[in-house]
């Protein structure tokens, strides 16, 4: 599976170790009456300095995937298994444990969430929230932590950082709170940042600021970035490669430009065709029928088949494997990927 995924540039004949490599991740939740399979065999990789996107709607398992990577799923009821979950070639859990024991090296992966206000403790001053992380996880002294906290707030472009260290979360706007959350994540000195719908709750002008910030930070620090979202426009602004998830599985992946130009999966194509474009007036949208399945309630065979206009018997019975496209850099999981005609992509408005 992983061999089909785009890896980074090869130098000297030696393949660079991916920053993060996940193979066959499965997450299920054991409830009283039933088991919910939220993630059903997902594999992906992130190269150093690369930004990848996970695109999916509700029930696709994208958020659960992010949380499983972070190791923050409560287990039980969650059960996380994977053939491989590696950070620079070493087992991810082991790396996390090692780093937790030593000082100074922070954590390999940090995460920011959708709603910054609920993620920040309202009774802690922002500076205290930061210094707490720096002292406990980076082994700094209080004085070092204070300096670093100001530096971090500066890095996320909060004006007057030295003064605002003393403010409480509610004294900031939504966009600023999200920056503080990014600062908190950066405090862990991560090599990979997972952003789970970080701009969904923000206004569009603030969103633009945050996306720009994330791009710049990622490039400055050569961090890996995993950007999880349901918004294909937002994703395309930030990442170079995208994984499309549906029903707990990856249904398509590849470079974001080529996927958007010529997707080989009916679901992705449906998303592309049904998303309205700013400025395009009263063109009838091509809609996908039905609704995305709830987590754990995916139909047998291909998870998309009930809504797919191309479905045939084989789609109902067999799960399609993720295979490279014949004439493109991506991979798609569709029994009829080859028969899909070229997508008519609109150019400018």
């Amino acid at each position: 599976m992983t061999s089909t995924i785009n890896s980074g540039p090869r130098e000297n004949g030696a393949a660079p170790k991916p920053l993060l490599e996940v193979e066959n991740l499965r997450v299920s939740f054991q409830l009283a009456q039933r088991t919910i399979d939220a993630v059903r065999g997902v594999s992906f990789a992130v190269q150093p300095g690369e930004a990848v996107g996970i695109l999916g709607e509700s029930g696709s398992g994208k958020s659960v995937t992010g949380r499983a990577l972070m190791g923050i799923l409560k287990s039980p009821p969650a059960r996380v298994t994977a053939d491989r979950m590696q950070f620079l070639g070493k087992d991810l859990d082991q790396v996390r444990r090692e780093r937790r024991r030593s000082d100074g090296s922070g954590q390999p992966i940090a995460m920011i969430f959708q709603n910054p206000f609920t993620a920040l403790n309202p009774v802690f001053r922002v500076g205290n929230a930061l210094t707490e992380v720096l002292v406990t996880r980076r082994g700094m002294t209080a004085a070092q932590a204070r300096t670093e906290a100001v530096r971090l707030l500066d890095a996320v472009r909060i004006p007057n950082a030295a003064k605002r260290i003393k403010s409480y979360p509610h004294e900031f706007s939504g966009g600023m709170q999200q920056r503080i959350m990014i600062a908190l994540a950066l405090a862990l000195n991560p090599d990979v940042l997972i952003a789970d719908e970080p701009t969904t709750a923000l206004d569009v002008t603030v969103q633009a600021q945050i996306l720009t910030l994330l791009r710049e930070l990622q490039q400055e620090r050569q961090m890996g970035l995993i950007f999880i979202s349901h918004d294909l426009d937002v994703v395309s602004e930030v990442v170079t490669r995208v994984y499309v998830m549906y029903g707990g599985r990856i249904v398509e992946s590849g470079p974001v430009d080529s996927i958007y130009a010529d997707s080989r999966h009916p679901y992705t194509r449906g998303l592309l065709l049904s998303a309205p474009t700013p400025g395009v007036h009263k063109k009838r949208l091509v809609a996908i029928a039905g609704s995305p399945p709830e987590a754990g309630a995916t139909p047998p065979g291909c998870p998309f088949h009930p809504r797919c206009p191309h479905q045939t018997d084989v789609c109902r019975e067999e799960m399609p494997p993720l295979l490279p496209a014949a004439d493109g850099p991506g991979v798609a999981a569709c029994h009829h990927a080859e028969q899909l005609p070229r997508l008519e992509v609109e150019t400018h408005v």
Partner: protein
């Protein structure tokens, strides 16, 4: 302010909705939230007017004021020429048959304890339009079929349906009394992307069929441009620009509109840097003086912009913008302050 539009089926004139901070009445104006601060607009028959803006711009308050759910502080709401702010409760209820609304939250806008039939039939029951249960069932069945559900769904409860379907139920309820104007308050914002298109298509079809007028409120510029004929851009309770979709999206005259458009993520643009608008939306309880946009505006001249609030001026065919320095040259790149 534009001349009185005689074709207008729905009109607002200098509508204002102010909220006082709860508790004691403060002396003076400190802390008053000017949610809607002098809005005038008009919607013609069969036309769709879109209202866009970010949080705090007052678009939802505007919807509530127009619907008279939270009656406005001052100003007029004219429905077919009749001023709703001055009619009796009884008369207002009768007007509601013709002026309906689709709400944002498909989960909370339907009473969970009622059946779909009871929910959809409520306008009929309230206005005495049906005489028997059989007649009610028939009308509800028709309405459900028209929005893409089946008449058999009438006996079920809302929790049995997905978000998109619940929104259709809400639309069925809004349309069953044959209104002329429907206020759509972020009708697709709470829906999955793949479902949004279904509902937008439905709204479009219904409009064509019944010559409805829509007041379509959204924060999502792409969604708005899909459905509407004309767009009004709101900022801190005022309309800063209004015009046709083509005018607004291709030749925005107000710097805020331009910044808003620049900020919309687009897969066609590709990655790479892009100048973005700096700062945050100011606190509606303490708006800046003069033009409320001036602190963030790259065209701020420091004097006039800080002192005097600009009025909407006609700049195109039906395009108006409230700016002391409107961007009349569409081709010139805008020096939006990079961030």
């Amino acid at each position: 302010m534009s001349d009185i539009d005689s074709d207008a089926v729905l009109e607002c004139r200098d509508l204002r909705k102010y909220y006082r901070p709860s508790g004691r009445k403060w002396r003076g104006d400190a802390g008053i939230v000017r949610a809607v601060d002098g809005v005038s607009l008009s919607v013609r028959r069969g036309e769709t007017l879109g209202i866009v803006g970010e949080s705090g711009c007052g678009k939802s308050s505007l919807a509530n004021a127009v619907l008279m759910l939270d009656p406005p502080t001052s100003g007029e709401v004219l429905f077919r020429g009749q001023d709703l702010t001055k009619v009796s409760d009884r008369e207002l209820r009768k007007v509601r048959r013709r002026l309906q609304v689709v709400f944002q939250d498909p989960y909370a806008s339907l009473n969970a304890r009622m059946t779909v039939e009871q929910i959809v039939a409520e306008p009929l029951v309230v206005h005495g339009e049906v005489r028997s249960r059989a007649e009610r069932a028939v009308r509800v069945g028709e309405a459900l079929e028209r929005v893409g559900l089946s008449s058999g769904d009438a006996a079920r409860h809302p929790f049995e349906f997905s978000g998109g379907q619940r929104q259709r139920i809400g639309i069925a309820r809004a349309l069953i009394s044959s209104p002329e104007v429907v206020i759509c308050d972020e009708p697709v914002s709470a829906l999955d992307v793949s479902v949004q298109a279904q509902v937008l298509n439905l709204l479009q079809d219904l409009q064509a069929e019944r010559n409805l007028s829509y007041l379509f409120i959204s924060h999502d510029l792409s969604v708005v441009s899909q459905l509407v004929d004309r767009v009004a851009v709101m900022y801190l309770g005022r309309i800063v620009e209004v015009g046709s979709v083509a005018e607004i999206f291709r030749e925005p005259k107000h710097p805020y509109t331009r910044a808003l458009l620049a900020a919309v993520p687009s897969r066609r643009r590709g990655g790479g840097s892009r100048t973005v608008l700096a700062g945050d939306v100011p606190n509606p309880a303490a708006p800046p003086s003069g033009c409320t946009f001036h602190p963030r505006c790259p065209l701020n001249d420091g004097v006039l912009c800080a002192e005097t609030a600009p009025e909407l001026r006609l700049l195109g065919d039906r395009q108006e913008a409230a700016c002391h320095h409107p961007l009349l040259d569409a081709a010139a790149p805008v020096g939006v302050r990079p961030h």
